[in-house]
Amino acid sequence: MNIADRIGQVPPSGIRRFFELAEEMDDVISLGVGEPDFSAPWAARQAAIDSLERGRTSYTANRGTLELREAIADHVRTYDLSYGPDEEILVTAGASEAVDVAMRAFVDPGDVVAVPEPAYISYVPGVTFAGGEPLTVPTREENDFVVTPEDLRRAGAEAADLLVLCYPNNPTGATASEEELAAIAAFTREHDVDVLSDEIYAALTYEGDHTSIASLPEMSDRTVVVNGFSKAYAMTGLRLGYAMGPSDAIAAMNRVHQYAMLSAPTTAQYAAVEALQTCDDAVEEMRREYDRRRRFVLSRFEEMGMPCFRARGAFYVFPECPGDDEEFAEGLLHEERVAAVPGSVFGESGAGHLRISYATGMTDLKEALNRIERFVESR
């Protein structure tokens, strides 16, 4: 087959290579997993089963069932976000589809999309597939890897058409405060940059409340917020996310979505309505378990002298590792059978770090950290 040039422009993910290394070995404790170790709350699973029993196996409206969009509209009021279920919300096959559709709906060939790094691995390829020009914006550890107007200026992001944000962040676990977001918001208004804010980890915020940049003054018109059910409700495999924004932006996204996807998985939509309506306690229980692990992991890195900024969200911490991060991660895997993802996979500014996921039970977590400690001491 003749393969399109832009496929060649996107290198295979560094995660993939590491995955293959880890798969070859037995008895590996993995701290490299980017999804919850819990299963979806039972009530949500039961709702999915019920919908199947009632034969609900057809397409839904392109934008998702009205019932779900209404439930989403209610839910996001927690974050001071107000969106109309009819025109301002689009239900997608995972937040991943929402990100992809947004790129295709908002990016023209040659448009510049600023992506602060370290970043989730899909944004830059998403820009490239849409024909845009990715502009990576290195962030700094002294700011807990939260992008600042200075970082944006230094990278030349005044020229950007779109800025991608992700707080709480994968891979760093960083959260952005209202003040930090306000500074970014002022930059985007000054230079007329639109914002795609991936807030998939919003519910997993441990110190203080999550703030959405779209809730700041004069930002809702230039922001599309992406969220979903994968992380908060442990529903990764059900593939369900959503995008919210001004009606013209959502209509544009829906244009792509209706041809590419038609509608998000129907079974998952039934599960999601139930999740939003009755599973708050289950989410809170998971959040608190993650929080216990987060504090445990941060304490352990402090004890073993691996510098690690205080991550306040998602289920990742991002410690510094001595020497080259890929070498360190490979050594750790081979010698101690602990898998962690090298930070450079998420962009150059992640080099010298490891992404440590604590979406793993406490027993394994303890053992893994003991092994890391032993590995660090042996070097």
Partner: protein, 162 residues
């Protein structure tokens, strides 16, 4: 959240955590954890620490029965008086006053059905205030104290994912 409450939640989740691990999970120092635990015990908030046992898998004789108990009160005898008397038996694992069709719910434990039956008929049913007992032998346990004994979800996630 209140620090002591946070610690209590950790203990409920797993009371075998070491003091150091409890400290790491709560962001408290070990001395404070010790002090809070002492206080929780002294105040009678924490009454004990026990294992969650699946007796079907233990090589042991173990029979449990839920006993419903109806009683008749009079001027001199209140629920607390009857409860105080029943609670003293070592066969009684738990004893609670409940709303609804009966008064007390008792969990009775013994080595055999015969032991349990005999205990209920000889010791409980003979209490003057007791008007009725209904004994339900436990046939199988699927979940106990928040721990599922069956159908554990397996971790089939990819070992590394973005």
């Amino acid at each position: 959240m209140d620090e002591k409450r946070e610690l209590l939640d950790c203990l409920v989740r797993n009371a075998r955590e070491s003091t150091d691990d409890l400290a790491r999970q709560t962001d408290l120092d070990s001395e404070t954890v010790e002090q809070y635990i002492d206080e929780l015990e002294a105040d009678g908030v924490v009454r004990g620490y026990q294992a969650v046992v699946d007796w079907d898998r233990a090589d042991a004789q173990h029979v449990e029965a839920e006993v419903e108990l109806n009683v008749e009160l009079d001027r001199e005898t209140k629920y607390d008086d009857i409860a105080a008397r029943i609670a003293k038996y070592s066969e009684v694992e738990s004893l609670r006053l409940v709303s609804g069709d009966y008064d007390f719910s008792i969990l009775v434990v013994g080595d055999s059905m015969r032991d349990v039956s005999r205990f209920v008929s000889d010791q409980v049913a003979t209490i003057p205030e007791v008007t009725q007992t209904v004994t339900h032998f436990v046939m199988d346990t699927y979940k106990h104290r928040g721990v599922q004994f069956v159908g554990d979800d397996e971790d089939d996630r990819l070992s590394i994912s973005p």
